[in-house]
Amino acid sequence: MSEMWINMGPQHPMTHGLWNLRVKIDGELIVDVDPEMGYLHRGIEKISEDRHYNEVITLMDRTCYVAGMAWEHLYVIASEQALGVEAPERAQYIRVMADEFQRIASHIMWYAAFVQDVGLMSPFLYGMRDRDLVLDLFQSFTGGRLTYEYNRVGGVRNDMPPGFTDRARKVLDWLMDRFVEYDHLCLGSDIFRRRCDQLGVLTAHDAIAYGVTGPMLRGAGVKRDLRKDRPYAAYDRVEFDIATASAADVTSRYLVRMEEMRQSVRIIRQTLDWLDHHPGPVIADRLPKWLGAPYAPVGREGYLLRRNYPKGVGFSSVEEPHGEAQAYVVNEGSEHPYRVKFRSPVFANLAACKKYMIGYRVADIPPIMGSVDICVGEVDR
């Protein structure tokens, strides 16, 4: 048989974003793969060097457009560290709650898209319907459905609206019932099992060597979650378990993400109870003036007043829905970050693709790539 390269993308139903998967095939067999990225490279790291600290948050929402809240959180932790600011406790709990709602929204989005890749249409519609309820909650306290601009260096922009916690609890109850249905639809489906079991196997050893994180790593049986290993915000004050599975294949990644959503519900319930009983400020009251008001950025002329900005390097990492995201923010005594570097979990997960794709067949590509949960926005940045 002769081997040939085929392009899956940049426009292809499998890609879920703008990128090109070049596949070398021998008949039906995948011999080599070479992802071609950069179609969505907007230079977010470069633009950040030209922006005021709080203005970068706008870009963070666009970095990963299905997990904006987690990326905002990542960036503000690093900036707070670099600038020596601390967020009040209530803001920490709100951030945890918002992150976990974001995780649910992102995982449901993944579920909807992935199951459609496998060939089931109805779960897509159910998934999008339920995700909308979470987005409604986001809208009620941030004003945005995808791009929130809610976190601020030093806290969050505003407190919860009245009655929010009750509405949130209702949504959580509804979602917990739906997760049972999701499992029935997928794990009970013969088509799904045949297309996903023992596919795209990435062993724990390879996953660690290639820097794979998140549900792909936990699906290989490695119990690693930054929320437990290196707790940030209020994660050390809530109870939850790390979801793992052992088969390291596409089905295990499905199982891990489903269990993670249930754990997220558990975390959110605890934070809602806490928020009900602990009113307080949501943004640090002693913020440096040049950092801008919590509601609106100060005008350009406001920046010129400041003379001695603090210097420092901030490093943060959060467990984003896709895995482990990191930010490295260098502050060199000006109103802009000197250098911002983001580590995207999908970037690393995708870089390992030779390990979990070679040897499978062309028809296996959509389920395998679907199980990676690709968000091109954060790969290309």
């Binding site: 490279h41 570097k341 970037f347 690393a348």
Partner: protein, 158 residues
């Protein structure tokens, strides 16, 4: 793991190629080393200290020099470790970490195209995010935004 423990375990391997181990908030420390000790350091950090996981490779352009920062993670001590080397700006090159951590592959490709850092013996040092033939290095400080750039993109034969 504390910075002084990291230094005590790395010093016998690297000698004076290890410059210092400074404390860094939230991590096991920031190891500063000479670029010629790169591969020995990576091996020692992975095999002796147990940092099996390379998270990212970041580059910083300090105009007079270029800093490259590696972030590694250990599952046993549950901590990050930063490794940082200063490269001369006119000949910024360092040994590739791919033989030790395959995870470095794409991160180094990114630093290569955006920050003009050459990684010696990298298996596949092509452009990743910018098109093939793109001759600018956008993350250098000399690359200013808001200025028109003239760009001719060579198409790639597929």
């Amino acid at each position: 793991m504390e910075p002084n423990e990291v230094e005590a375990r790395l010093r016998p391997v690297l000698g004076d190629r290890l410059l210092s181990v400074d404390p860094f908030v939230g991590t096991a420390g920031k190891v500063r080393f000479r670029p010629e000790g790169a591969l020995d350091l990576f091996r020692a950090v992975r095999d002796q200290l147990g940092f099996l996981h390379l998270s990212m490779v970041a580059g910083v352009d300090w105009v007079d020099r270029r800093e490259v920062v590696y972030v590694a993670w250990s599952d046993t001590v549950r901590q990050y470790l930063m490794l940082s080397a200063d490269l001369p700006a006119d000949a910024a090159h360092i040994e590739s970490a791919v033989p030790v951590w395959p995870a470095a592959n794409w991160h180094e490709r990114e630093a290569f195209e955006l920050l003009a850092i050459q990684f010696d013996h990298h298996p596949d040092l092509r452009h990743l995010l910018t098109p093939e033939g793109y001759e600018f290095h956008p993350l250098l400080r000399s690359f200013k935004l808001h200025e028109p750039e003239e760009l001719e993109v060579k198409t790639r034969n597929v």
